[in-house]
């Protein structure tokens, strides 16, 4: 999570910039604020298990972050927590649980130009045992030509075409951070 936070803080302005042509210029700020709370909470509470960690992340995202990203990332971590609590321990299953939870909350499908368009290929790649930084980046890039059907970007219709989805990019940061943490 610390790595994810670092990346979010580093790329905060870029996330906001992505949220400008097709959104409302706050995605960087939403994520950065949220992750600051998360990291603070982890620091003070020093969770000693993955379960405890996921609980802290979920609670902080749901209570401190609004916008679309708060409940979506909140749901994602809650879904991951539930899957883990049900006894699954592979990242593939856990992330799959997160993905399902996001979809339950946000009703977005693959191709709607949302973070789903990164989560879904990532889960798929894990199934095929091939998650790499390239897979993640390609998924992000692939949101560019899409016309948004969900989220704030959908209001601009045709004019959303040609821009990367900010939520897809922040999700990519999460997965890059995971890969990096694993490699360590």
């Amino acid at each position: 999570m610390e790595l994810f936070n670092e990346k979010i803080q580093q790329e905060k302005d870029y996330l906001t910039q992505l949220d400008t042509p097709i959104g409302d210029s706050d995605h960087g700020n939403n994520m950065s604020r949220g992750m600051t709370y998360v990291v603070e909470a982890i620091d003070t509470q020093s969770p000693d298990s993955l379960e405890a960690l996921l609980k802290i992340v979920t609670a902080n995202l749901l209570s401190k972050v609004g916008g679309a990203s708060g409940p979506l990332y909140g749901s994602a971590f809650m879904g991951m927590l539930k899957t883990y609590q049900e006894g699954e321990s592979s990242w593939r299953k856990i992330l799959q649980g997160g993905l399902e939870s996001i979809q339950k909350r946000g009703k977005a499908e693959v191709g709607d130009k949302t973070m789903i368009d990164v989560w879904a290929p990532v889960v798929l790649a894990l199934e095929n045992d091939g998650l790499t930084d390239e897979v993640i980046d390609e998924a992000v890039e692939a949101t560019k030509p899409l016309k948004a059907k969900k989220g704030r970007a959908s209001y601009v219709g045709e004019r959303s075409i040609g821009h990367i989805d900010p939520g897809a990019y922040s999700s990519a940061l999460l997965f890059h951070a995971m890969l990096e943490a694993e490699a360590e």
Partner: protein
């Protein structure tokens, strides 16, 4: 960025406190969950909750008062409040008649308010929800999430607020709110962008002779970037989009709102109201009541929106019902 601020992080809290301090007899502020609440809550009326991102002042705190809202939940600038904030708004104002959430139709708002409603229902609180989607600048389609909620939301607050204040049951208040939603349509334009404080620079840039037609209240792009036109032509362009949409027809009675986006002076809003009135008169659409001012702003955006709500006898009565909300005294 030239703004009257201390620290960017403190804007929402300080602004809310400034609003509540201006109306200490009526409003109170819960700092933890950023709730602006009516001081005198009535357990025997439906609780009305709205809110959303901050930056739309006087929305939504200014609409808290007798005859309108019970709580406004204040998110960060342009970011919906969190699920837990909304959940706390619901539990802290629980009434014997249940709670109605008035939600502007944005993904973030919907998800957080919906999530909070689910949590509250788990606590056995009766919660109903309505979604305002009055912006005709957005194409409505089955495949998308539909239209944005903009200034027409204020009319929904007013109508639902009156119905609740009269003691109606939850479903009746919800039905009144939905009738308002079905009958209200809006469109806006911008002459300049807003500047989100945390970003510090304008969201978009326009040429000296350009406007963004159909802009959203968060500075979201609209229908097209166009050359600016005279007030009369602008009013015509806007009304053309609105009128066919419902449609509003000759002989209809309507409520009219000419809403400023934050930095457009009243001088221009009144002038626009004059242009709008001339056109409506020509079309034999009868303005029953007019509201000109800053009601649903986009921080410091320059521009305005027009909203029309078609009225029947019930809506007229509810519109005329007294309200002492600071920003909407009737």
């Amino acid at each position: 960025m030239k703004k009257i601020i201390n620290k960017v992080e403190d804007i929402v809290i300080e602004m809310c406190e400034g609003m509540v301090k201006a109306h200490p007899e009526q409003l109170s502020f819960n700092k933890k969950y950023k709730l602006i609440t009516r001081k005198e809550l009535n357990k025997n009326k439906v609780s009305l909750i709205s809110g959303g991102g901050s930056g739309h002042e006087p929305a939504h705190g200014g609409f808290v008062g007798k005859g309108m809202l019970d709580v406004a939940v204040c998110g960060d600038v342009f970011a919906s409040p969190s699920t837990i904030q909304v959940y706390n708004a619901i539990t802290k104002t629980e009434s014997n008649k249940g709670t109605l959430l008035i939600i502007k139709n944005y993904s973030g708002d919907c998800m957080n308010f919906d999530g909070a409603a689910e949590m509250a229902e788990d606590d056995d609180i009766k919660v109903e929800k309505v979604y305002v989607n009055d912006d005709v600048a957005v194409k409505d389609s089955l495949y998308t999430i539909g239209r944005r909620g903009v200034a027409g939301t204020v009319f929904v607050h007013k109508i639902a607020g009156a119905a609740a204040e009269k003691g109606h049951e939850l479903l009746k208040v919800k039905t009144a709110a939905e009738k308002a939603i079905q009958n209200v349509r809006s469109i806006g334009f911008a002459f300049t962008s807003c500047t989100v404080p945390a970003k510090g620079s304008p969201t978009f840039t326009l040429g000296d002779d350009e406007m963004e037609f159909g802009v959203g209240i968060h500075g979201e792009p609209g229908i097209a970037r166009e050359k600016i036109v005279s007030a009369d032509e602008l009013a015509e362009k806007m009304l053309n989009r609105i009128i066919v949409d419902l449609p509003y027809e000759s002989g209809d009675d309507i409520a009219l709102m000419v809403n400023g986006f934050g930095s457009t002076p009243l001088q221009e809003l009144y002038l626009l109201n004059n242009s709008v009135n001339k056109i409506l008169e020509n079309k034999n659409i009868n303005v029953y009541k007019t509201f000109v001012g800053n009601y649903m702003t986009a921080i410091d955006m320059s521009g305005a929106s027009i909203s029309l709500m078609k009225l029947d006898e019930e809506l007229k009565e509810l519109l005329d019902y007294p309200s002492d909300a600071p920003a909407f005294k009737v």
